[in-house]
Chain length 111, copies 4
């Protein structure tokens, strides 16, 4: 049997994988970045146990030589909070050494 914090970490991972692979490849420009940020946040917040999602598209890094680019991990930073039966997990994604690293920032067990 998995513990409650382990379940919470599993749920946090699901949200990250979903977020990334649902939206990677979306055409994005500095002008359309705000609506995409908001749609990503609100869509993933629909998922079970997901309390909050915060997405920042790094629009000053977007390659706009063809007017837009495709969203990849290189262009976004994400933080999300999962609450599962009293456990709370904060996780984030940012580039590290050329790779969009997803990581657990904190795991709190139920009181």
């Amino acid at each position: 049997m998995a513990s409650t914090p382990e379940e919470a970490c599993f749920e946090a991972g699901i949200k990250f994988g979903a977020l990334y692979h649902q939206f990677a490849g979306t055409p994005v420009s500095p002008e359309s970045a705000p609506s995409l940020e908001r749609a990503i946040e609100e869509s993933i917040e629909n998922q079970p146990y997901c309390e909050r999602v915060s997405v920042t598209i790094l629009d000053d890094r977007l390659d706009t030589s063809h007017g837009y680019t495709e969203l990849t991990g290189e262009y976004m930073e994400v933080e999300l909070v999962v609450a599962y039966e009293g456990a709370e997990v904060v996780a984030s994604m940012a580039m590290e050494d050329g790779y969009p690293l997803m990581r657990l920032d904190s795991v709190e067990s139920p009181a």
Copy 2:
């Protein structure tokens, strides 16, 4: 060689296939539908020759028995306009006989 209206129709098809397969599967609820509509419109409008995209998520049809559902063609209606070297194409998507049918509504040749 393809004619200018044929190229415009090809471009319209690309936008529809992109729109559908980029966003199918996105978690959506009546609350998050407006931000998703807007993000879909603005992201696809980034693509070359795409003048306008209008997306309506049929939020009264969304299955909310688990709080949200995954976006499919069953839940959206789309109209888009492509302008390519003077040709203009209007195309739309709606359910027809249980299938999300994409179709050309009008094709205008360059004057």
Copy 3:
């Protein structure tokens, strides 16, 4: 700080979210199901710490009234194994009460 088994559960969740949202919406028929199963398995096995992915597309359930259907959780069963610094997690996905439930089957701490 997260424990090693918690990190392993997070990694297992990432793989599930990625798998589901990358491939949901893919056109599939009984004839093309085997190549899609294999591609899903091999692509997700590329991800860090992912030891094994097993995907079964339930091709007898596919709606083929239009020749093919779009892949959703309704049509697949998945089991995957993650090994992270000596911890091992087995997780699976199957339909439960009309919802594609992802769950932790076992979590083993490092010896």
Copy 4:
């Protein structure tokens, strides 16, 4: 009303947009490239009027510094054939000037 060749070009565009945005972001390595090529081909061939799809993943270009990379247009070449009520369209995708260009190679009207 659209002509038959225009409809065929629209259908060819749909297949390209679908193919690209369904599979962009998939984790891929030289080892998993062959199964992904086959799955892309067979899934898109399910779509209406699609006669043949040929996908080559340029596995010698894949960035494998993290063991795998995410599929983008930079790493694939595609050719597809659509037959629509006697019209036949051949279309292809390849990199051109840093952009994955989709283009019509030939359009044949019904005899």
